[in-house]
């Protein structure tokens, strides 16, 4: 007797209960009870489903290895019901012939094989209906695009890299992308025995100065558009120019339809441009990628293969890896042609810092092409009226001399100490004024006129700036490692400290044991008289 008599329960109650019953026998009995009782169709289905599940569990035998001699003809028929692979079926048939050679079993197998073979022949290409006809209710913005028509089996070549610039310099991410794409295309040319290039694209004002650098970081060819109207990134002209470059069939250096691959930086501007360009070129975009590689891909999606059930190998596919929003997982995105429409260029934007900046080639070779196009006025309908430049701060690198002050200034009066340091700084033609972190984070109250100098921008060391001047004068600085790493590459280091045991002595060329409030004025004076060297040598203990 089964534990549950289905006829005594509502269907809602039975659902969860039946889930826990694993005994076939018990289920069969319940089925019989229900049929003998009200015979409710949903209850019967429920029990039958469960029966199938429970019964199915122990029939998991792998058809290609199952021992046929143990099986009844019905078992075999059941087993092959879901087998689609003709080879496997043929193998089973062979084994049956060698084994029990049952007529019933053989005919089951032969029938199935025949069916599948016919199926294969019947399998036709999906009929192509242009999207405009298939979905007349939707808008089709690409329908009237000049270039969309005809992009089937187009000719595509090369890897194009948009090299973003800022203040007349390449962004690091541009260098990173050039390095990565160089590596990809070297591999590509080897694997496919091709000769395709890395093309660097530069757009802006004054970018002609950067072409050499693009070659140095890995481009074979640089295409640039230099125009003073292009100082700032703007959607319309940048997109138009980039797309025009891609389809500039007049250009004599190229003989293909559009780029095979495009790569953009996933910066604010790069993200905008990548989306606009890939849209205009009627292809797709994998944004914010952190890994790229080129490989073939086996695809069975009928939308891409054109034949359901068929697997087709697509060559030269750019695999674009991107982290998902949680950062837990990665997805690899592929951009693949359809039977009646190409999806090229295969485009990606790349998160800055994902790849290494390569070594620059000292004497790079390559072609530089100036892009020739008049820029119509309507591309510049938007104008930038105002912009803010983030404060660049104090740059202490590149000076001949640095005078740096530490907490030794509090012995007498911190304000006075800073004044003395500034006076000394002024005596040199090209000197910068620096501080230890100890001063910046102190609670000293400085006089108004020197307060402006007490900022983190002047900090020298591990978490500040790293300087290598010809002369570094450290007054009242103990020489903590975190300070040391910011200055110990200086040519000559002069330290002024009251403590003869101060760590800084170990890496100073001249160590003046003394009170900075006395020593600094003397140095300033000596300098005014042009006798600094002598003064230091005289005062120094080392």
């Amino acid at each position: 007797m089964p534990e549950i008599d289905p006829t005594e329960h509502d269907i809602a109650e039975l659902g969860p209960k039946i889930k826990d019953i694993d005994d076939e026998q018990e289920l069969e009995e319940m089925l019989a009870m229900e049929k003998g009782g009200e015979g409710r169709a949903p209850v019967i289905t429920l029990i039958e489903d469960r029966l199938e599940k429970v019964g199915g569990e122990d029939e998991d035998a792998d058809p290609s290895e199952a021992d046929l001699t143990d099986m009844t003809i019905a078992d075999i028929a059941n087993m092959i019901r879901d087998v689609e692979d003709i080879e496997v079926l043929r193998d089973i048939l062979e084994r049956e012939k060698e084994g029990k050679d049952r007529k019933g079993a053989k005919s089951q197998l032969e029938k199935k094989i025949n069916n599948l073979e016919e199926d294969d022949e019947d399998r036709e290409e999906v009929e192509y209906v242009p999207p405009e006809e298939k979905h007349p209710d939707l808008k089709h913005p690409t329908a009237d695009k000049l270039y969309v028509e005809g992009t089937v089996d187009g000719e595509y070549r090369d890897m194009w890299v948009y090299c973003e610039t800022q203040q007349g310099e390449l962004l690091d991410v541009s260098r990173e992308m050039l390095g990565k794409t160089r590596e990809l295309m070297d591999g590509y040319n080897d694997d496919y025995d091709e000769d395709e290039d890395v093309i660097a694209v530069l757009i802006g004002d004054g970018v002609d100065d950067l072409t050499e650098e693009c070659l140095a970081y890995g481009a074979d060819r640089v295409v640039y558009h230099d125009d003073e109207q292009l100082t700032r990134f703007q959607h319309a002209p940048y997109t138009e120019i980039f797309c025009h470059m891609c389809r500039d069939w007049e250009a004599d250096w190229r003989d293909y339809h559009e780029p095979r691959y495009t790569v953009f930086p996933a910066t604010n501007n790069g993200r905008d441009l990548s989306a606009l360009v890939q849209g205009e070129l009627d292809s797709g975009l994998a944004s914010d990628c952190s890994g790229l590689y080129i490989e073939s891909a086996d695809i069975s999606n009928p939308a891409k293969t054109g034949r359901p059930g068929e697997t087709k190998t697509f060559e030269k596919i750019l695999h674009m890896k991107r982290p998902d929003f949680s950062g837990f997982e990665y997805s690899t995105i592929l951009c693949i042609d359809k039977p009646h429409r190409d999806f090229h260029p295969q485009g990606a934007s790349v998160i800055p810092g994902s790849f290494e900046i390569p070594e620059a080639e000292p004497e790079p070779e390559g072609e530089v092409v100036e892009h020739d196009l008049d820029l119509p006025e309507e591309w510049f309908q938007t104008t930038v009226t105002e912009y803010d430049q983030l404060d660049e701060g104090v740059d202490l690198t590149g000076h001949d001399v640095i005078v740096a002050m530490g907490r030794g200034i509090d012995r007498v009066d911190p304000t006075k100490g800073i004044e003395l340091g500034l006076e000394l700084t002024d005596q040199f033609e090209d000197a910068g004024f620096g501080l230890s972190r100890g001063v910046i984070t102190a609670s000293y109250e400085f006089g108004g006129h020197v307060e402006q100098y007490i900022t983190e921008e002047r900090q020298i060391g591990e978490s500040g700036q790293v300087v290598e001047p010809e002369l570094y004068i450290a007054a009242g600085i103990s020489g903590a490692v975190q300070h040391k790493v910011g200055m110990d590459e200086s040519d000559t280091i002069v330290a002024i400290n009251t403590d003869p045991e101060a760590d800084i002595r170990d890496f100073s060329d001249y160590f003046i044991e003394g009170d900075l409030f006395e020593v600094l004025p003397r140095l300033t004076e000596a300098l005014a008289e042009g006798k600094l060297g002598a003064a230091i040598a005289e005062a120094s203990d080392d």
Binding site: S326, R407, G438, T441, Y444, S463, A480
Partner: protein, 552 residues
């Protein structure tokens, strides 16, 4: 109402408490997201490091994480001694009985290794539930709707809501503070632990401590070597290093204006340790952290709405005399909190999780371990000065001395009694005077010469790894009266040292001189001390920022 990302459970902190909670939640099929501020789990954590599996505990770490002892721990610790020290005289007691009382096993651990091992498993387990573990994310407060706690806010992520929030964010829990369940006011509620991990090849450990490859030992130290500051020292053997440290009552450390790094050095350079160093000393890492004293701050009702506190966040750190038990209780509490939520959920009443958790802490006897009633009864009597001085004079008298001699065996026995240890009052008498007298009367002198030189504070700081960010601590009142204690009590600051966090400065304002303190958080090891002893606005640095411990 804004739509926030939602999980059934959010666990903040991936120490032993968070790991145990997350694993148990995952076992109950609860969708669980774990967030940890360290760049890697364990990179923020310090412990002495003996983790106990108690026979009576409902949850132990190896039961939740099979393979823990082989994969995440150092040496099993079987032997346990305390040395009472007076000058160079030492009297050693074997604390075998108390160490093994209710102990299934006990292993030494280093937290970086342990916590990152746990985190990998936690990530696997919680992913199955649709969640996971994210490092480098700092919770900075609770999300409330209509006054009710509904989720957590972060520096790095948008707010996340949850049906239950388990705050396993350790001592100085910002979530417990935000909920109003804990404050950081009283120095007497805390200990400060400081520790050095010292290199020693496995063969040397085996030989010098007389142990086999898979054996280890613990030594504790108390008496007069810490300038009268209440507390003691420890030494535990790891696989190829030693963990040596000190744990002091923060109020005592503050009042005595003691320098924690110097107290550690007194231990490191004591002649007793010469037999183990044999003239060699290489310090791998210097670290520090506050430790709550459960006797005073274990929260009797550690929950509010959907928020449940576990481990140090709830003050569940038991100092059983010299034995420190925090990690095991964090594991138990994590398991119980998770279990409570799963049970509440199955009853369709998730709101009940907090109350259920509290009941479980009580019925499992955890609460009585953490806050023994005996202690409450004896505390007020014996911590008063009168008793203290009577006690001292008694000890100094001839009768006292005779008593100690007479009761030698009995004393060792009473150290081995959990009952007696549970009511030891936190006075100088029990921490300093008694051990010192024991050593004076019973001890034998050590003649070894210990000439090791521990690194100076600036080198200790220089050897640590930091990813510095904007200051995470703000001094609200920089007068010496309000915040000057931090100059000495901060383990990486010292009087007359310009390279520390807190520095004493004399400033001239309007013609008169004033003593002030300034703060640079860059050398900060995030121990939490100045949150209690100085007038500050104290937060942890953002995810992945600040100090990174490699040993822990």
């Amino acid at each position: 109402m804004t739509e926030h990302e939602h999980y059934e459970a959010v666990v903040v902190g991936a120490g032993p408490g968070g790991a145990a909670a997350a694993a148990t939640l995952a076992q109950h099929g609860v969708e669980t997201l774990v967030l940890e501020r360290g760049a890697d789990a364990g990179s923020k954590n310090v412990s002495g490091g003996l983790i106990y599996a108690e026979e009576s505990a409902p949850y132990t770490i190896d039961q939740l994480f099979p393979g823990f002892r082989e994969g995440a721990a150092e040496r099993p610790v079987d032997e346990y001694y305390i040395h009472n020290i007076a000058g160079e005289k030492v009297e050693t007691f074997d604390l075998h009985d108390i160490h093994h009382h209710d102990t299934e096993w006990c292993d030494a651990v280093l937290r970086r290794k342990m916590d990152s091992w746990l985190a990998e498993r936690v990530h696997e387990m919680t992913r199955e539930t649709g969640g996971g573990l994210l490092t480098g994310v700092r919770a900075n407060g609770l999300l409330r709707e209509g006054g009710k706690i509904v989720g957590v806010t972060f520096d790095e992520l948008d707010p996340i809501t949850a049906d239950v929030i388990i705050a396993a964010d350790g001592v100085n829990s910002e979530l417990a503070r935000d909920a109003g369940l804990m404050d950081w006011e009283e120095p007497e509620d805390w200990f400060q632990g400081v520790k050095a991990v010292v290199d020693m090849p496995p063969e040397a450990i085996n030989e010098r401590f007389d142990v086999a490859d898979d054996e280890g030992v613990a030594h504790l130290f108390s008496g007069d070597l810490f300038e009268g500051v209440r507390g003691g020292g420890f030494l535990y053997t790891n696989e190829d290093s030693l963990s040596i440290g000190t744990v002091f009552h923060l109020d005592s450390l503050s009042v005595e204006r003691a320098e924690p790094h110097e107290l550690l050095d007194s231990l490191l350079t004591h002649p007793l340790l010469a037999q183990w160093f044999q003239g060699e000393y290489h310090e791998r890492e210097y670290a520090a952290k506050l430790v709550p004293d459960s006797k005073k701050v274990a929260h009797p009702s550690p929950h509010r709405g959907r928020l449940l506190l576990v481990g140090d966040a709830a003050g569940q750190m038991q100092a059983q005399g010299p034995i420190i038990k925090g990690m095991n209780h964090a594991v138990t509490a994590g398991g119980l909190a998770a279990e409570a939520f799963a049970e509440a959920k199955s009853r369709g009443n998730e709101e009940a999780a907090g109350t259920l958790y509290q009941q479980k802490l009580e019925s499992e006897g955890v609460m009585d371990q953490l806050r023994p009633t005996r202690y409450r009864a004896t505390r007020f009597l014996s911590e008063s000065d009168a008793v203290n001085s009577i006690g001292s004079s008694l000890l100094d008298s001839a009768v006292g001395t005779a008593g100690i001699k007479l009761f030698d065996g009995l004393l060792e026995k009473s150290f081995n009694s959990p009952f007696v240890l549970g009511m030891i009052p936190d006075t100088k008498l029990s921490y300093v005077t008694v051990p010192t007298r024991i050593a004076e009367v019973l001890g034998d002198p050590v003649y070894d010469e210990n000439d090791v030189e521990p690194p100076a504070l600036d080198d200790r700081i220089g050897d640590l790894t930091y990813d510095v960010d904007d200051p995470h601590i703000e001094v609200l009142d920089n007068s010496f009266e309000a915040s000057g204690t931090a100059v000495t009590a901060c383990p990486v600051s010292a009087k007359d040292f310009g390279g520390g966090c807190y520095r004493e400065e004399t400033v001239e304002t309007n013609g008169h001189e004033e003593k002030k303190v300034s703060l640079d958080t860059q050398p900060c090891v995030e121990c939490g001390t100045c949150a209690v002893v100085a007038d500050t606005h104290w937060e942890h640095p953002s995810g992945g920022k600040g100090v990174e411990f490699k040993q822990g």
